[in-house]
């Protein structure tokens, strides 16, 4: 393409992302979530006071991509580890980045306890309706009838039960200040997701308590789809079951303007 005349930068890779190429599969929206977190932390100028907590799942290596301090938690225990960090360093920004297997299955005890305690941390929760890293097994978020490697004939609700709507569930807790669900399937929703992440960190910076942004995300590889088809599947299958929305916006939070 020809060079333009005098130009302005509309979009640039956020400074807080390292220059490492990611290990995610092509089209996996984990990458979008990473980018949004980086953009927000850059905008808030929080790089030097942020400590991330990676979980176990495809995002286990999240620490490779962010240029700030990071620790890596056992499967499901990121909220507890984040609690340890945050209590010792209350003026730092501490967030966990967790998948749905990690947060809603093995880690359910820790996320509920952290939310109930009103732990002043932020949780970025990637709901991709399966266990990505281990090869696509059923997660608590797997849809009824969805075929996975451990629900080979489709999730049978009679035997494997019903998907957990985590945001709805956690919103019943008094300690939760900000709990919302967003989706990463199109530009508009991505923009809204970014705003929510910003709000969540703002909640933390103001000491208002537990904040969580659930993000509907694709797993093209294990869903067995192209990235574009995966986006479509998310929109048509996941969204109806997991409506985007604000499930808990505490009174003090409602005043935050992004």
């Amino acid at each position: 393409m020809d060079m333009l005349g005098e130009e302005t930068i509309v979009y640039e890779r956020p400074a807080t992302l390292t220059d490492l190429s990611s290990h995610y599969c092509p089209g996996c929206t984990h990458g979008i979530a990473h980018r949004l977190a980086a953009e927000v932390l850059d905008e808030m100028n929080f790089r030097e006071r942020t400590i991330g907590v990676a979980s176990v799942g495809c995002s286990v290596f999240a620490y490779n991509y962010f240029n700030f301090d990071f620790v890596q938690a056992p499967h499901g225990r990121a909220p507890a580890m984040a609690t340890g960090v945050k209590r010792v360093l209350p003026d730092r920004i501490v967030f966990t980045y967790q998948g749905d297997g990690d947060l809603a299955s093995i880690g359910m005890g820790e996320i509920v306890a952290a939310a109930a305690r009103g732990e002043n941390i932020t949780v970025i929760f990637i709901n991709n309706a399966n266990y990505g890293m281990t090869g696509g097994q059923m997660a608590p978020t797997t849809l009824p009838g969805q075929v996975t490697t451990s629900s080979p004939t489709g999730r049978d609700i009679e035997v494997a039960g019903f998907p957990i709507r985590v945001s709805e569930m956690l919103s019943s807790l008094d300690g939760a200040a900000y709990v919302v669900r967003r989706s990463l399937h199109d530009p508009k929703n991505i923009r809204l997701a970014k705003k929510a992440i910003r709000a969540a960190f703002e909640v933390q910076a103001r000491g208002l308590g537990f904040s969580m942004v659930e993000l509907l995300s694709t797993c093209p590889t294990n869903w067995g789809m192209t990235p574009v088809d995966a986006i479509h599947w998310l929109e048509t299958k996941m969204l109806p079951y997991y409506p985007v929305g604000d499930y808990k916006v505490g009174p003090a939070v409602a005043e935050i303007k992004i």
Binding site: H23, Y24, C25, P26, C58, T221
Partner: protein, 181 residues
């Protein structure tokens, strides 16, 4: 007698399946055999390889440091394993996408433009079969016919129609003769 074979390439190049075919054929021909996969330290979109050991007595180690045969489907595989091949061993090279010559002088090198042949056959997925054909031709342990009957036995129903293409690929590959060192 024990033959150690490493088949290595990108994930998606059919590396693991080619190895399994060898293993099935070896078993059905009365050999002891082990097939051992490994995914390298990268988790996703990385390289894949497998080790197939064929022997006429109980097999000890399922992994080997120095194979007699390396089937290198891509450049990283050549880079990684070239130096480990046993002297006098075989190096079967996918010359379509491996853009450097083999350095070792003490091994037999067979260059196979496998991608191109597969594309000529009309199915990129046949690359692994072309390579396998070349291997069988240079290591007369198992016949192409055995492999074909394993294909019939183990290809999923919906892929059975590809058997003629597979046979062509194996046969084309088998035309690559040993170049003396």
């Amino acid at each position: 007698m024990q033959v150690d074979i490493i088949i290595a390439g990108f994930g998606g190049q059919g590396v693991l399946f080619a190895g399994q075919l060898l293993a099935y054929a070896a078993m059905d021909n009365g050999y002891h055999v082990t097939w051992y996969p490994s995914y390298g330290p990268e988790m996703r979109g990385g390289t894949a390889n497998c080790t197939v050991i064929i022997a006429d007595e109980e097999i000890g180690a399922p992994v080997v440091g120095s194979p007699q045969v390396l089937l290198a489907m891509n450049r990283p595989s050549l880079d990684k394993y070239e130096s480990s091949v046993k002297p006098d061993g075989f190096l079967i090279i996918n010359s379509s996408i491996i853009d450097r010559p083999v350095v070792r002088k003490d091994v037999h090198v067979i260059n196979v433009p496998a991608n191109e042949i597969a594309e000529k056959i009309g199915d990129k997925r046949m690359t692994n079969m072309v390579m396998l054909g070349a291997l069988l031709a240079n290591l007369p342990l198992l016949s192409i016919e055995t492999i074909v009957s394993e294909l019939r036995a183990h290809l999923p129903e919906r892929h059975q129609k590809l058997i003629p293409a597979n046979i062509r690929a194996l046969t084309e590959g088998a035309r690559f003769q040993l170049e003396p060192v």
